[in-house]
């Protein structure tokens, strides 16, 4: 059996009469940085939500690390994590309280050590005792990322990971994620509207269009075979 991190088989999601995803099948190998692209409403967030068990598919199957999410959901959830600027942590708790809370939910051993390590790496040490609700958007993004790395996830799902960050911090976070992936041989799945970010980070892409897979494969192949100069060029030519 091939070791895949994510596999979907004829996956569909329908809300009343609207199909958000239509019979999509793809398989991602273990280890790597993968981008999911598409216009607004293409189904990117729904796909991520289904991979985490937050949204139940209308049809089709999802396998994470060769385990069916229907059958082994809680086993799978121990090994994945997620970050999005649109999902926050409890506002009335301090950053450290939030991180301890999530460490416990994930069953992280020696969580104090893990939090210290990540706080140093992602430069949030001075934020630990502040209330999460008082942080700026950029600070929240970094704290959310620490939360997403607490359980050392084998599969990390990132929705706009550098939203609200300044240029220097964005570069720093991208570098950090690339190194994290290499060091841990993990799988990182990123959705972003920042096409330059995807070009910098991802080797493989899935491009969704109105719930269908428009392209899946290597980023280089997409550019080379169609003579696109950049992903922006691709989207402009495929309006």
């Amino acid at each position: 059996m091939i070791n895949s991190s994510v596999k979907t088989v004829k996956l569909s999601k329908q809300y009343e009469s609207t199909f958000v995803l239509k019979n999509i099948s793809f398989e991602l190998p273990e280890s790597g940085l993968f981008g999911i692209l598409g216009r607004n409403g293409a189904g990117k967030t729904t796909l991520l939500a289904m991979l985490m068990g937050l949204v139940t598919p209308s049809n089709g199957q999802i396998y994470i690390f060769n385990k069916s999410i229907d059958l082994k959901k809680y086993e799978i959830l121990k090994e994945i994590n997620f970050q999005s600027p649109y999902v926050e942590l409890p506002k009335k708790m301090t950053v450290i309280q939030n991180l301890i809370f999530y460490s416990r939910l994930y069953g992280v051993l020696n969580y104090n050590l893990r939090i210290e390590e990540l706080s140093n790496d992602l430069r949030i040490k001075d934020l630990l005792n502040k209330n999460y609700g008082t942080l700026s958007s950029g600070q929240k993004t970094r704290v959310n990322l620490v939360k997403a790395l607490l359980n050392n996830p084998r599969l990390l799902l990132l929705d706009e990971p550098t939203a609200s960050l300044d240029v220097l911090t964005s570069d720093f976070i991208r570098e950090y994620l690339i190194n994290f992936q290499r060091k841990n041989k993990s799988t990182i799945l990123i959705t972003s509207h920042n096409l330059i970010e995807i070009e910098k980070m991802c080797s493989h892409l899935i491009i969704l269009d109105e719930g269908n897979i428009f392209f899946k494969g290597k980023l280089k192949s997409l550019m080379k075979e169609n003579n696109y100069s950049s992903l922006k060029d691709f989207f402009l030519k495929n309006k």
Binding site: K13, Y15, T45, T46, A49, M52, G53, L54, V55, T56, Y74, E75, L77, K78, I80, N81, F82, S84, Y86, V87, E88, L89, P90, K91, K92, Y102, L105, Y106, G107, K147
Partner: protein, 263 residues
């Protein structure tokens, strides 16, 4: 200026009349107040033989016990609403935390919050009013647990409705307990209600709890059949409310609602 004030009026009208629970909240308070004080006055007008202190003792016991129910329900719903207001639900539901563990967590949190909130009230009442809630003995604990269970049952239903239908149903968290107040016979006996309403009241465990409380405080008598009814009704309602709440989580997953909740 008129245009701007009219715009504000329209906005607040849309908020108030835009959803059924909010609309209900405009009408239920006057109705509940009239029903409640009407039954209460009827009872005291026709039972003049009660001494002031006995009556006060019964009323204070009822106030404290009713608050157990209210705190129990609020403790559960507010803990759950915190997750909604914080836009934290997706983070919570992608951890290995099982749905039933959320239920247990909410129950324990509510229990501790209620215990913490109600203890000073009991001691203050004891100190200032020569209050004899402890005359209920073991049954004080029994009533406490059963009232808090009623609060949990209501809390799970409200939380499930808010999860499924959105924030408009938050109004119910404050209102629903007071909707059942007149029928719960907290401050007056079941006989004070008209016959038709007695039938409705009998399916509420609260009625049997407060009737039992009065029979212990006034007649020093324990009615075993009522105790059995309390346990049966409460077990049934708690079981149904938890199933309802878990089912609402399932429906929310199907409808993609867990991702979009928030202030």
């Amino acid at each position: 200026m008129i245009q701007r004030i009219y715009a504000l009026l329209m906005r607040y009208q849309n908020i108030a009349f835009g959803s059924f629970p909010r609309l209900l909240s405009i009408f239920y308070w006057p109705t509940v107040q009239i029903l409640f004080w009407g039954f209460f006055t009827n009872f005291f007008m026709s039972n003049g033989e009660f001494g002031v202190w006995s009556a006060l003792n019964i009323i204070l016991s009822a106030v404290v016990l009713w608050d157990v129910l209210f705190r129990g329900q609020l403790g559960l719903t507010m803990s759950f609403f915190e997750e909604l207001w914080s836009r934290n639900l997706p983070n919570l539901f992608i951890t290995p935390l099982k749905d039933i563990e959320i239920v247990i967590g909410l129950i324990l949190t509510s229990f501790l919050r209620t215990l913490l909130g109600i203890t000073p009230a009991i001691f203050f009442a004891n100190f200032f009013f020569n209050f004899h809630l402890f005359n209920l003995g073991f049954f004080l604990i029994f009533f406490f647990f059963n009232l808090i269970i009623v609060g949990w049952s209501v809390g799970f239903v409200v939380s499930g409705l808010v999860l499924r239908f959105g924030h408009a149903f938050e109004e119910l968290a404050w209102a629903i307990i007071f909707m059942i107040l007149p029928f719960s016979c907290v401050y007056y006996p079941l006989d004070s209600l008209p016959n038709t309403l007695q039938w409705v009241a009998n399916i509420l465990p609260t009625v049997h709890i407060f009737e039992s409380m009065r029979s212990i405080l006034i007649d020093n008598e324990i009615i075993n059949s009522r105790i059995l009814i309390i346990i049966t009704l409460n077990s049934f309602y708690l079981f149904c409310s938890i199933i309802f709440f878990l089912n609402m989580i399932k429906v929310s997953r199907k409808k993609g609602l867990l991702f979009n909740q928030g202030e």
